[in-house]
Amino acid sequence: MFGYVLRRLLGAIPTLFLIITLSFFLMRVAPGGPFDRERALEAKVLENLNRVFHLDRPLWEQYLYYLGNLARGDLGPSFIYRDFSVQQLLGSGLPISIQLGATALLLALLIGSVLGTIAALRQNSWVDYGVTAVATFGITVPNFVVAPLLSLVFGVWLSLLPAGGWGNGGPANMLLPVITLALPQVAVIARLIRGSMIEALRSDHVRTARAYGLPARMVVIVHAMRAACLPVVSYLGPAAAALLTGSVVVETIFGLPGIGRYFVQGALNRDYTLVMGTVIIIAVFVVVFNLVVDLIYAALDPRVRYD
């Protein structure tokens, strides 16, 4: 088990290296640089800036310089936010994105599996149709519609909750963004659980459990659920990586200081180091969560073993 984890983590290093190299050069293919804005800069001033940020060197030299810094754990200074290093920016934003994403994920898991299970148990009843309708709605209505609507209704019209802002992570400030983030996930999870639960309820081991005369609740929660979870677990790997690294839409509309915005802002501003930093974080999250998913899979499904 330990050996397996170690092997997987070591195997991720070349992958990360490849991602870093590709992103570094791809980003430089985009025309324009970090200092090309609507307000043009004096030629001499631009030259000074390029020198300060080593942009006057050949690209391969900049690449080696970046790798050298990275090896020392230094993600470099941001080209745009000049009072901060990329570490500082990601360091202050990531915990907030994780907090929001994790809460949304837990909420979605809880509500999604309950809804999915109920729908599966009452298959083809109005409850089932209701859940399917809600799920379809949750998937099809994009978050850039949900977020301003929630903010308008609960923030402006009803004045129940803040219309935006982080407010040092108060629960009132987190509620609407978390709901926005969770909604599509609830939908996906409910549908996945419903499908796999229906299948699980018909499987041999559940029939055996029933034959033993176990109470229905026990059969569903312990025996059927375990099998029904598997597709959700594989879905959760990439979903968790995406949720925990922040959402540009939700952060922009609610005005939250997470890292989701840095990827888009960074790319539009050609803030090379900041984009690299977010790419690395996202890549690491994807690698780690895929590993976690595989481990959970082994724990849930007795047929899977990693030795």
Binding site: E42, V52, S92
Partner: protein, 533 residues
């Protein structure tokens, strides 16, 4: 049912928490101004600054030699008085007894150090060129001279002497810009570029820095050492960045912010209907224009350029596309600018009947050899954005009667502007210019032939350059204004550029916020304001 049961206690809990917070803030009885800002500041270092969002914050943190009043008139700041030599080249400022937030006195040496720092090429200052008017400023920034050779000297602790390259009638205007604010020498020497961190920053303005969390807020608190601290009514300012303008509007309507520094132009009409006088739309020092690449074969002929310019229906674009958030423009320098009281030159065709205008424009095109049988193919380049797109589409339509076929080239901002700077294959290109200081030179210098980085039209007219040189050497303000007007008249005659719209600044201001005075600079220092319940 299950879902309802889950949410109710949560909402109740949220309300409880909100109640506790509200209780806490009244207990402290501190006056806090939550203030919407354009964007995140990219830096709080006055020497690296370049954006309006930064200007808004730095104006509260620091005080320069002169400052803007609530109405954006230049009034004494750290300098209580000043005099200029007869040739207009030497300015002597007498500093008053002012203190830094740590109690140190503000000295002339602080200013000398600051101006040397911004022009030092190693600082990488984006707006270093603002101070090129100071003797040797440009040479120091190019690394040709040492910073110590800059024309700024401390005669004694309270006397600062600045020598200029040319008599510069707008010099005081320049000094109101955030790049002219002093830095606290001892902190910069001790902390290097980290002097901007909240724990290190020492300021000399009405406020000091408490915290700066990107994408969240910048918090300032009253500086008790400030020379007029007793006149500062607001204790705490929270600058909240809103890249998404509609978010600010919602938080304003929810009563969470007291002002927004910009508005979504497409919602302007509905905002006016809904919020009435709280919507402030005020003329601003900026011009939205289309550069016409004068070096391209098709656009070389001034008759073609003029025909194109004549066909642009500015009123339609300003009112229909920009919902009145912009004003129609026929000349490049916006009205209301300083040292240009007489306004720009007259544009003869501006008031013509649209049909006559069209006839004249078609005739001009015909003279230049273009018409239905020989259509002109043009490409409009613009940076991505809904209103830019609508503007370009409308213009393509307005040019149809001239037999002009338009194609579009859309890039994101960074790609668009680097293309304008580095290439010469574009034809018609959208751009904008927001004035850094209130003087026509700030706008007209764009079209000097040696201003390669900014002259997107690649306009080259020795006569224009000569007039600009004359204006730079002229110290009589009335004569200077006349020379500048002649220069701008040339710009109109040659149709070097399509001046299309003047920007407005758009703000939301709560009736609770007192002391907000609309002004063309859109400069609103918190120190002039107060909050009433």
């Amino acid at each position: 049912m299950l879902r309802m049961a889950g949410i109710r206690p949560l909402v109740a809990g949220a309300l409880l928490v909100a109640g506790v917070f509200a209780g806490a803030s009244t207990a402290l009885a501190q006056v806090t101004y939550v203030r919407g800002n354009d964007a995140n500041p990219e830096t709080l270092d006055q020497h690296k600054t370049s954006t309006i969002a930064e200007a808004n914050i730095l104006r509260d943190l620091y005080e320069g030699l002169v400052i803007y009043s609530a109405k954006a008139e230049v009034i004494p700041g750290v300098a209580e008085s000043w005099e200029t030599s007869d040739d207009g080249l030497t300015w002597t400022f007498k500093l008053r007894d002012a203190k830094w937030s740590n109690g140190d006195p503000v000295t002339a040496e602080d200013f000398v150090f600051s101006y040397q720092r911004i022009l030092n090429p190693e600082t990488g200052a984006k707006y270093a060129n603002m101070l090129y008017v100071i003797k040797n400023g440009e040479k120091v920034n190019k690394g040709e001279l040492q910073p110590s050779e800059l024309g700024v000297k401390a005669v004694d602790d309270k006397t600062l002497e600045i020598t200029l390259e040319n008599p510069t009638p707008y010099f005081l205007q320049l000094l109101t810009h955030q790049t002219s604010y002093p830095v606290h020498k001892a902190s910069v020497e001790k902390f290097g570029s980290d002097f901007v961190k909240p724990e290190n920053m020492v300021t000399n303005g009405p406020y000091k820095l408490v915290s700066f969390v990107p994408n969240d807020k910048v918090v300032l608190e009253k500086n008790p050492e400030f020379r007029e601290a007793d006149k500062v009514a607001i204790d705490r300012v929270e600058f909240v960045p809103f890249e998404e303008r509609a978010t600010c509007v919602r938080r304003f309507e929810a009563g969470e912010v007291l002002s927004c520094s910009d508005l979504p132009a497409e919602q302007l009409q509905s905002l006016k209907d809904r919020l009435g006088e709280q919507v402030h739309v005020v003329p601003y020092l900026g011009t939205y224009y289309y550069a016409l690449n004068n070096k391209r074969d098709d656009l070389k002929d001034p008759r073609v350029r003029q025909a194109l310019s004549m066909m642009v229906d500015r009123e339609f674009i300003a009112n229909e596309i920009w919902s009145g958030a912009m004003l129609p423009a026929y000349t490049f320098v916006p009205p209301g600018i300083g040292n240009y009281e007489g306004g720009g030159p007259k544009v003869e065709w501006a008031d013509l009947d649209p049909l006559d205008k069209e006839d004249q424009a078609i005739a001009l095109m015909k003279e230049a050899g273009f018409g239905p049988d020989n259509p002109l193919e043009l490409e409009i380049s613009y940076s991505a954005g809904e209103n830019h797109k609508n503007t370009a589409t409308a213009i393509a339509d307005m040019w149809k009667p001239l037999g002009v076929n338009v194609t579009f080239n859309v890039r994101d901002g960074s790609a668009h502007y680097s293309h304008l700077r580095d290439s010469d294959d574009y034809e018609v290109a959208r751009a904008g210019w927001i004035g850094d200081f209130s003087d026509p030179v700030n706008f007209l210098q764009l079209w000097e032939s040696d201003n390669t980085g900014f002259n997107y039209s690649k306009y080259e007219n020795p006569e224009y350059d000569k007039l600009m040189d004359q204006a730079a050497a002229e110290s009589d303000l009335a004569k200077r204004e006349e020379i500048l007007r002649q220069a701008e008249a040339l710009l109109v005659k040659d149709a070097a550029v399509i001046s299309m719209l003047y920007y407005s600044s758009m703000s939301l201001v709560s009736p609770k916020l007192k002391g907000w005075e609309d002004n063309i600079q859109n400069a609103h220092a918190t120190r002039w304001m107060s909050i009433s319940e």
